[in-house]
Amino acid sequence: MIKVKNLYHSYNNDENYAVNDVNFEIEKGEIFGFLGPSGAGKSTTQNILVGLLQLQKGEVEVAGYDVKHIKDKMFNKIGMSFEQSNVYSKMSGIENLEFYRKLFDVKTRDPKELIKLVGLDGKENTKAGKYSKGMKHRLTFARSMINNPELWFLDEPTTGLDPSIAANIKDIIKQENEKGATVFLTTHNMYIADELCDRVAFIVDGKIRLIDSPKALKLKYGEKLVDVEYLKNGELIKEQLSTVAESEKARIVEVISNYDIQTMHTKEATLEEIFIKVTGRGLV
């Protein structure tokens, strides 16, 4: 769905690249996470992919279209939810969606259905200028789905949303992906990336340092240990046991069989820990 080869971009047209020799491919139906701290080159890459920034150097193919010679029809296939909400403040929520749907040449979704989907029902006739930041963000998210995009770009889709709404947004992303949408998710939130993405790319200083699935990364970089807490003669005992060494594997079985287990956790690494380990940088 996306092919990026030797992509470079410099804002000053010099050798100081914001995006430096980036290469990756995204398959149809995949959720691909683009992880990196602020200023790493995530938004620059994304903006080149969607044509908001002109391609300077490299080869980029999006939804079957060469981005160097971008065709207007390409936008019938893609949708984008921006990090900063961008809706017409003088129009109501429903008017925003009605207006935007008219810009497409393909079958579009019912604005009322989208309003309901993102939990804005009851507020659809209120001017968007009177919406809270979170409501505007949800409206922007809803608008990105109006053309049933085959390729869906999501820039920090849950930023600034309360946990229940963020959970709803994550569910919607999963549902749309199950229906066949390919998702390009730009975020610095590793929990969302971990939960949603089939693969993630770590980008720092304009360069991709690593691409793999969260599971494979955890296996590769996580410690193969289990932390267990159990009660022995009324006393709480803590043990850390290897899941690889034969003697300790037997000990795990013994503890589980003979004692009252209080807590038990594998010591797999989080994506953030892996990111720090790989890049030497935090995700903020």
Partner: protein, 312 residues
């Protein structure tokens, strides 16, 4: 959107403050039923108002306007009642009319042959309507500027760029407002001010070419400003060359005219003047609109890259 009613307000103000095309400035007050024949005669040459009684006639004459009463005297003659501050030519005109009516002198008794340049429209009214038409074209540009500032404030331009609407289509769509508003506004203005009989194809030609420069400036001001008030304020700077051009055409001698040749409004004003007089040929209209188009094209070549970059 309130800007859309501005041409209509202009038209109403012009009608209020300037005499109409077919209006006469002389008003005569007569006593109702006293001499219907005389009243009919006066109606051919002046506005006639009828008073119910002599007291009412005296009260009416004392009001602020220049109405002059022709009232029956003690015998069979008439006397003229004025406030005393009316222009002499108005009083003399009524005196003559009263005498002509008395001796039953009609138009057919005149030996004079009338030769005319055919200018039936009051020059002040024409100037005001012409100015208002150009002003309306600037309003179109102003709406574009305000609209782009709003798009920037809402950050919605990027969302439009991610739809199948091309950038050229986006610019063309915005520009439509800058054409439609001046064209519709000018037509309304002309109809309301009594210029319904002129060639509206000529009007369309002059208005569409004159609004190009305002559209270009509207885009640039919209791109360069993040505040609606600043954008509107900067657009007002266009009034300077507009009023300068009008002053140049109307007040300055021929030797100073080349100083204004670079201003498109100068040529628009001259072209509109012909259109409003209803005496411009297609050749002349094409000449003036062509010059305006040429100057606008030069400005476009300079500003187009900035507009394109600014809307990215």
């Amino acid at each position: 959107m309130y800007i859309l009613v501005v041409p209509v307000i202009f038209a109403v103000l012009i009608n209020v403050f300037s005499p109409g095309i077919n209006d006469t400035t002389v008003e005569i007050l007569l006593l109702k039923g006293e001499n219907p024949q005389q009243a009919e005669y006066f109606k051919q040459f002046a506005k006639v108002e009828l008073a119910e009684s002599l007291e009412a006639a005296h009260d009416r004459v004392r009001k602020r306007d220049n109405i002059i009463a022709v009232l029956p005297g003690a015998s069979k003659d008439y006397y003229i009642l004025t406030q005393g501050n009316e222009p002499d030519y108005v009083v003399d005109y009524v005196k003559n009319l009263a005498a002509f009516a008395h001796f039953d002198i009609g138009m057919e008794d005149s030996a004079a042959e009338i030769l005319t340049y055919g200018r039936e429209i009051p020059p002040l009214k024409k100037l005001m309507v012409n100015t208002a038409m150009i002003f309306t074209s600037i309003l179109g540009g102003m709406i574009i500027a305000l609209n782009i500032v709003e798009e920037k404030t809402d950050n919605t331009i990027s969302a439009i760029h991610l739809s199948p609407v091309s950038r050229l289509g986006f610019i063309a769509g915005k520009s439509m407002m800058g054409v439609v508003i001046p064209v519709v506004g000018s037509i309304l203005l002309l109809i309301i001010t009594g210029f319904g009989g002129i060639n509206f194809f000529h009007v369309f030609f002059m208005v569409t070419t004159s609004c190009i420069i305002s559209i270009l400036i509207g885009f640039i001001e919209g791109i360069n400003n993040d505040d609606v008030m600043n954008a509107a304020g900067n657009m007002k700077l266009l009034f300077l060359p507009l009023f300068g051009s009008i002053a140049g055409v109307e007040l300055l001698a021929d030797k100073w005219q080349p100083l204004f040749y670079w201003i498109p409004f100068y040529w628009t004003y001259k072209g509109n003047d012909l259109v409003l007089s209803n005496r411009g040929s297609w050749m002349e209209i094409m000449k003036y609109s062509g010059i305006v188009l040429g100057i606008s094209a030069l400005v476009f070549l300079i500003l187009a890259p900035r507009i394109r970059k600014g809307l990215e």
